[in-house]
């Protein structure tokens, strides 16, 4: 960010972008004076300015990714207040697509490919392959959303996450106590749940995490 000499000016210029990104994730109109979500988005944007370099592709894509991940982390920390859900976007964001040139897209794809490679290695430690996840991922939206909230709760609990990484198995009973879900439910979606927990709890998969269209509702 050498070109931009005045950081404050740049942030003020990009306030509409920050607002749009944040309100899109929160699915409601936000107010600069009252809503924590906008402050978190602003901090994430500031962090994006700090950490951005040319290897990270388009700046706005990068900033959007950071804002999205920060907000998901915020929702995760306040999981009692928010219910998260996946959204299937019908309209492709043409404006955003056009603003990216092929070079930037390629860079983004490369970063994502590296993350996917790491993610696949991590899954293999649990004996899971992507092909297994096709059968193990729920096709029903409600089930997916239910599992997303279970995964959010688990990723907040360090004990369970550590136990999961150590034993390479889901501590189902502890999860049932934490989430008050049935053992059978957790057991049947075990593989999908592990993949979600890894994505949500590990910062090294931020591009994959930001790709997921997670929104917050009360």
């Amino acid at each position: 960010m050498d070109i931009i000499s005045n950081r404050d000016e740049f942030i003020i210029e990009n306030k509409p972008f920050i607002y749009k990104t944040a309100s899109n994730i929160c699915k409601r109109n936000l107010q600069w004076e009252n809503d924590d979500e906008l402050s978190i988005a602003l901090i994430a944007f500031n962090k994006a300015i700090d950490t951005y370099n040319n290897e990270k592709g388009n700046f706005y894509s990068y900033a959007k990714m950071l804002i999205k991940n920060s907000l998901i982390d915020y929702f995760r920390n306040n999981s009692s207040k928010y219910t998260l859900y996946f959204i299937d976007e019908q309209i492709i964001d043409i404006q955003n697509k056009n603003s990216l040139n092929q070079f930037e897209i390629d860079i983004e794809n490369k970063i994502r490919a590296q993350e996917i490679y790491d993610f696949s290695r991590r899954l293999k430690e649990f004996g899971i392959e992507f092909k297994d996840l096709i059968k193990s991922s729920p096709s029903h939206k409600d089930t997916r959303n239910e599992l997303l909230n279970v995964a959010i709760k688990i990723s907040m609990n360090e004990d369970i996450v550590n136990l999961l990484y150590k034993s390479k198995q889901l501590p189902i009973k502890k999860i049932c106590l934490l989430t008050s879900k049935k053992e059978k439910f957790i057991e049947s979606w075990r593989r999908y749940l592990i993949s979600l927990i890894i994505i949500l709890s590990d910062d090294s998969f931020k591009y994959i995490k930001s790709y997921l269209n997670i929104k917050a509702g009360d």
């Binding site: 490919a113 992507f130 096709i134 994959i208």
Partner: protein
């Protein structure tokens, strides 16, 4: 159906996509993909809307229940009497839906001849053949002899041509009775009996008089009233 996702795995033909909505899907494509790229997949399979499925299943259930009702509604009954006496209830498709043995011999015969859900013609032929096997039908039932197979038909438009042909072929005696004709005859005799009972002697007497009884009773009363209503002064 359009699905957008990032390519997680690709082996040249099949790819695994992670969609924005967190679903892992498998796709087949001829395009060259690379892991990490975003790919928009258009499947040729059309999704049938939920409402259409619900409507279709409701129609199916209605249709099935209607068919069930039609199938299991007794349309006609045929009673076969040899010595075994059997009542066969049939539906409008000429299928036997209920078999009722009316005596012990019939029970014995039906234990070996399963006629339920068969066409009426075939069922009757089977019964006759079994009766022959069990010697309920002996020489006395053949043409030129006094005994005959009795068939009592209760219902409309029953087609028994195949059965009649078979009976002719086997040269058996057959006596078909239509219950409607019997009923009509019965009704006629009953009516005649009733008429005889109903006509009481008093009415017979009134019939002798040429004026109808109603007029006879009403008119004099009316006249009498009129006479009463006329004021006495005016007459004077």
């Amino acid at each position: 159906m359009i699905k957008k996702g990032i390519v997680m795995d690709y082996d040249g033909k099949n790819a695994v996509l992670l969609t924005e909505s967190g679903e892992f899907i498998s796709i087949k494509t001829k395009e060259k993909l690379s892991v990490g790229q975003e790919y928009v997949y258009k499947s040729k399979v059309k999704i049938i809307p939920k409402q259409f499925l619900i409507a279709a299943s409701v129609i199916l259930v209605l249709f099935l229940s209607l068919f069930y009702n039609l199938y299991y509604t007794v349309y006609a009954s045929v009673t076969v009497s040899i010595n075994p006496e059997i009542r066969l209830d049939i539906n409008r498709f000429d299928r036997i839906i209920n078999v009722v043995p009316l005596n012990e011999d019939a029970k014995n015969l039906l234990s070996e001849a399963k006629v339920k859900y068969k066409k009426l013609d075939n069922g009757l032929i089977l019964i006759v053949n079994k009766a022959k096997e069990k010697k309920y039908i002996n020489n006395e039932y053949y043409e030129g002899n006094p005994k005959s197979i009795k068939l009592l038909v209760d219902g409309k438009n029953i087609n028994l041509t195949k059965f009649y042909k078979e009976i002719k072929k086997q040269k058996l005696n057959l006596n078909t009775l239509d219950i409607k004709n019997i009923k009509k005859n019965d009704d006629k005799t009953k009516l005649e009996k009733k008429e005889n009972k109903i006509i009481p002697p008093s009415i017979k007497k009134s019939n002798d008089v040429p004026i109808p009884s109603g007029k006879k009773i009403v008119r004099p009363k009316y006249k009498a009233k009129k006479e009463k209503s006329v004021p006495k002064g005016k007459n004077k």
